[in-house]
Subunit: 330 residues, 4 copies
C-alpha cells in the first residue's frame, strides 16, 4: 500500500524530492510534470516514472499526493486545485508572498479537510531534531533565548532576488519557522534592522543583504536572527538555545572532518557550501514524515498555518526595518 506521488516541477528542488520519494519506504514516484522536456526526461529516466502534465496529474486516479516545486507565484493556485481534487499536497515554501492570499489557501485547506505540508526542511535536520528533543526532554529547562545564525555563501542572482519577495520572505522565513518551533510560543513583537553591505545591486532592488531580527513572545522569551547573503567560509547554519537550566547548540557541517596543523595554525575545512548538500538528510526525512502523515491520517508536522505565520513574521520584520518601530502581532 505505497503512497503514489507526482512531482510538479523538475528543477533542482524537484529533483531532490523525486529522489526522496524514490528512496523512502512506502512511497512510489508515479509522475513528473515540467514544461522543460529535458528536466522531466531526466527524472523519468532516473526513477522510471511517467511524464504528465499538471492537468493530467490533477485527474490521475493513480496519484495520491503531489509535491509542488514550481515557481512561487503558482503555489497558491496549485495547492487549492490539488487539495480540492482530494490529493495530499506538499508545497515548497512560501505558500504565497502575500499574507492575505496565503491565509485564503489555509482557509481552503481547512474547508476541504485537506492535508497540506509546507516545506520547512530544517525541522527535519537530524541535528536540529536532536536539539529539539533535548529541549523537549527538559535538558535546558525553560527556553529563554534562541539565537539563530543563517548565512548564505553568496547572494542569489538579481533576477531571483527580484521575484523573491525580499530577504525576509525568501531567506529569513526559514529562521522565523525555526524560531516558532523552538520558542514554543507565538511571537508578539518583532524588531529588525537591515542594510546592504555586499552588493549595491541589491540596494537598487530595494532589498537588503544583512539583517538582524529580535523576536519576543508574550512571556518575554526572545529570539535573535542573524542573516547575511555572504559568508566566505560556506553555508553557515547554527542554532543556540539558552534556557533556565542550560544551553544547547548545533554546530555546522564541514566538507570533511579532517584538521591540518602547521606553522599557520590548525585548519579545518570550510562548511558545506550549498543548502542541498547541507540538508540532504533533512529533505529525505521531510518527505518520509509527509508519507507517514498520509499513511496514518495524522496532521503534517509543518502545516499551511506554519507557512502563514512565518510569512506574517517576515512582513512584520520588513516593516520594522523600514520604520524603526517594533511591530506587534496579535
Amino acid at each position: 500500500m505505497s503512497i503514489r506521488f507526482a512531482v510538479l516541477g523538475a528543477g533542482r528542488i524537484g529533483q531532490v524530492h523525486a529522489k526522496a520519494v524514490s528512496s523512502v519506504n512506502g512511497a512510489t514516484l508515479v509522475a513528473i510534470a515540467d514544461p522543460v522536456a529535458a528536466a522531466a526526461h531526466h527524472i523519468r529516466d532516473t526513477y522510471g516514472c511517467d511524464i504528465r502534465s499538471i492537468d493530467m496529474i490533477l485527474t490521475s486516479d493513480d496519484v495520491d499526493a503531489v509535491i509542488i516545486c514550481t515557481p512561487t507565484d503558482t503555489h497558491a493556485d496549485l495547492i487549492e486545485r490539488f487539495i480540492k481534487a482530494g490529493k495530499a499536497v506538499f508545497c515548497e515554501k512560501p505558500v504565497d508572498l502575500d499574507v492575505a492570499r496565503a491565509r485564503k489557501v489555509v482557509d481552503t485547506v481547512v474547508a476541504e479537510n485537506g492535508l497540506l505540508m509546507v516545506g520547512f526542511q530544517r525541522r527535519f535536520d537530524p541535528d536540529f531534531m536532536a536539539l529539539k528533543q533535548a529541549i523537549d526532554e527538559g535538558v535546558i529547562g525553560e527556553v529563554e533565548m534562541v539565537t539563530l545564525t543563517s548565512r548564505d555563501p553568496g547572494a542569489p542572482p538579481v533576477d531571483y532576488i527580484k521575484r523573491s519577495g525580499g530577504i525576509f520572505r525568501d531567506m529569513t522565513i526559514h529562521d522565523f519557522d525555526v524560531a516558532r518551533w523552538l520558542l514554543g510560543e507565538e511571537v508578539t513583537s518583532v524588531q529588525a534592522a537591515a542594510s546592504v553591505l555586499t552588493d549595491p545591486a541589491i540596494k537598487e532592488l530595494g532589498d537588503y543583504d544583512s539583517v538582524n531580527v529580535i523576536l519576543m513572545t508574550a512571556s518575554g522569551k526572545q529570539c535573535t536572527i542573524n542573516n547575511t547573503r555572504r559568508a566566505t567560509y560556506g553555508y553557515d547554519q547554527r542554532i543556540e538555545v539558552h534556557g533556565s537550566k542550560g544551553s544547547v547548540s548545533a554546530e555546522n557541517h564541514r566538507e570533511s572532518r579532517i584538521e591540518i596543523a602547521n606553522g599557520a595554525g590548525y585548519t579545518r575545512p570550510p562548511l558545506l557550501n550549498f543548502f542541498m548538500s547541507r540538508y540532504t538528510a533533512a529533505y529525505a526525512n521531510e518527505i518520509a514524515s509527509f508519507v507517514d502523515a498520509i499513511a496514518n491520517g495524522t496532521p503534517t508536522k509543518t502545516t499551511g498555518m506554519d507557512g502563514l505565520k512565518a510569512l506574517e513574521l517576515a512582513d512584520a520584520a520588513l516593516k520594522s526595518a523600514q520604520t524603526g518601530q517594533a511591530v506587534s502581532l496579535a
Copy 2:
C-alpha cells in the same frame, strides 16, 4: 622612574588593581585608601604600601596616579578632584550613571588637560586583542556584523541592582564599549528588547535580566548584543565578527582543558565562573597600558569619552526597550 600609585577603595576590584600595580614594571603602589580598616590593612600588608585618606592622597606629592575603585556615585567627583590636582586618573566604569554628569567630567578633563582612563578591561583581554589585531590586519576584510554574547553566571544581589543603573548601564555597557571598538564607526541607531526571565525581584525593581540589542552605524554595519543574568555553565563571554572576507571569533575560557568521554558523551568543564578569574590577564594589561600612557605622555586607550559614549548607548537601549522604537544617535 616608576609611576607612583594610590588605589582608592580596597574592595575586590581595588585588590585586583593593587595587585596589578605591584606586578607591573614601572609602577609602584604607594598608598591605599578605604574607610574599612580591615580591607585597607590587607592591601597594606600584602604589598607594603601606606594607608592614607583620600584627602591626604589628593595632596600627596609622592603620588602620580590614582585608581578609583570606590562606589559609582563617587566617581565623577573624585575624577574631577584628582584631575584638578594634577594626578593621572584611572576610574572603573561607569564615570557616572547620568550622561550629563559624565559629559561634564569629560569636559573637565579636557579643560584641565588631564589624563583619564576608564576601566573597560575587555579591550585588554589577550584573546580579544588577538581578534582585534586580526581585524586591523585586514584578515576578515571590512567589518560587517559583530555578535556579542555576554552572560553572567547569576544576578548580583538585589541591593547592588538597585544602585546599578539597570542592566544596560551596569552589564551591557561593557558590550557597548566592545561594539564601538570593533565596529570602528560610531553607532547611529539602537534597538533593544528586554524582559525578566530569571527572577521576579528584578522586575519589581523595574530592571531586566534578559536583553537583546541591535546597533547600526551610518554605513550599515550592525552589531547584536545578547545578555542574560543567568548562565548555568559559567561566565559566557564570546565575540564573533563577520566581515567581507571572513569571520573571526574568540571562544570562552574553561576551568581546565580536559575532556571526559563516557557513555554520556564527551564533556569539557564549565566556564570560569567569575569575571575576575576570567579577566585576570586583562586587568593586568589594562594597568600596564595606563602606566605606559602616563610614562610616555600618550592618550589612554579607553578615555572618558569612551565611557560617555557607552553610557549614551545604554540610555538609548533602555529607551528603545521601553518604547519599542529605534533610538537615533547624532
Copy 3:
C-alpha cells in the same frame, strides 16, 4: 551496461553490500545466496533479485561479479572458484586466517588474471580519503609518524572470538591496512604488546583485548596502533599523521552535532556505536570503486596482496606480543 552482481551471504554485512549494489550507478543486484531462507528472502524482497545457490551463481551467465560475505573459513575456496569461473570477486577481509593459504589465493588470482578486491572499507571513508588526499598533495610534507586509534565499543561474543583468529587478525588487521596505505612504504619491523583488561574469558581463549603496536619502515617512518575491545563512549576511529611540514588528523563521528552546556560542563554526544553506521558511506564508496574497476578494467584499490600483507603484519604482531621481540619482515 550495468555490472550484474550476486551477493554470497545475507548476514548483516551481506545486507550492507546488497544495499550498496542497489544504489550504486552502473551496478545491478541479480542474485542472493544464503542457506538461511529468511535472510535471503529479506534481500530478495527488498531489492527484487533472485535467490540462487552458490553453485548456480558460479555458472550464471548473467552474473559478472560476486561479493563474498560468507564465514571466513569459506573465503579462500570461494575466491578461487569464482575467479576461475571468470567472475570479478569482492571478498570481505580476511582472505584467510592462514598466511600460506592466503598467499596461494593471491597466486591463483594472478595466474588466472582475475580481479579481486578485499574489503578494507576504511580506505573509502570520505574523511580518511580527504586526509589521504591532503598527504598526497604534500600538505604535511614527508610522512614521518602515523598514529591509529581504533577502539571497539565492546568485545564480540566469545563464539565469534574463538573463530576470529585473534584480535590482531580480526581487529588490528584494518589498522595494518590503513598503516600501509598511509605510510607509503612497506613495514620492515613490528613490535607489539598485548594484555587482557576487559574480560577474563578472552584470556582463557588465549586472545587479547588491549594491544599497542609499533611499525617501522626501512626509511625509519613509524606507526603506532592502539586497540581495545571496550570504549564506553562509542566506536573510536581516529587517524593522525605527522609529517615534516605539519600534521593531519581525522576526528570521530558523533551521534549528532549538538552540544549541551550546564553546570556539569559542555557535553557532546557519544560516538556512533557501530561499525556499520560509522562506515555507511565507506561501504557504498567501496562498492562503487569495485564497479569502476570492473567497468574500466583497472586494478582494484585494495587487492588480494593488500589482504595478504595485512595478514602478515597481524602474524608478526602476535609473535612480537608473545615473545617481546621485534619481528622483521623482509
Copy 4:
C-alpha cells in the same frame, strides 16, 4: 616564617625558578649564584637578592633551600653536598645521566634524611592535575591505556644534544615520569622504536629524533609515548588516559583562543612554541609545592626515586630501540 632560597645557576630555567620563588607565598629569594656575572646581576636587580658563590651558599645560615639549575653533570655532586649541609634541595631533571650515580644520590638523601625534589614540572600543570584528579575520583574507572604525545617544535642545538644523554634521557624522561604518575603501577616491560627523520646530524651523534615507546605494567596496563623533535605547529603536549569506564584527555595550549573562518576553512592559532610559556603555571605550582613540603615537613611530590625510576625507563627504552627486544624491569 618564610623559606629562604638560593638559586644555583642563572640561566633561563634559573630565571623561571627565581621568579617563582619571588612570587610564591612563604618563600623569599636570598641569593643567586652563577659564574656569568651578567646573568647573576639580572636576577639580583630584578628580585633584590644577593649574589653569592655556591660555596658561600653552602654555608649560609640564612638559606634554607636551594634550587639547582646548573649543568646536568654537576647535579649529583651538588645535591649530595647541599643535602649533607642540611638544605632542602630542588634539582632540575635529571639527577644524573648515569643510573648508578643517580641511585647513589638517592641513597645519600635517604641516609641523610634529606628533602629532595626533582623537577618534573608536568605533574604540576593545572590541566594535567585536573586530569589526574578525575582519574583519582574514579571518573574513568580503572586506568588501562595511557597515550602520551610530546613533540618539540624543533631540535635543540647539536652541542646540547651531545651532552643530553640522548632523546630518551633528555626528552622522553618527562613522559616516563608522567606515565608512572598516571599508570599508578610500576612499569615492568619497555619496548621502543627509534629513528632519525629530521636531521642527519642527530644520526651522526648516535641519537634519535623520532621515537615510539610501549610500557607495560604487571597487571597489563599499557602506555605509549610518541616523541619527535620537530612539530611545525608548536610545542605539542597531549595526554589521553583510557579506562574501564571512560577516557580523559588534556588538550594543547594555543597562542590565543581566536578562530578565523574564510574560504580556506576555519583556522585556530598554532600552539605555544616554548616549554617555558607552555608550563608557566606548572613551574610556579611546582615551587609552591616544594615550599609546602619544606614548611610542613611532608615528602616532596616528585622525589629522587621518581628521578631514578624515570632514568631507568630511559635506559631500558634505549636498549630496546637498539636491540629490538622488550626490556624487563624487576
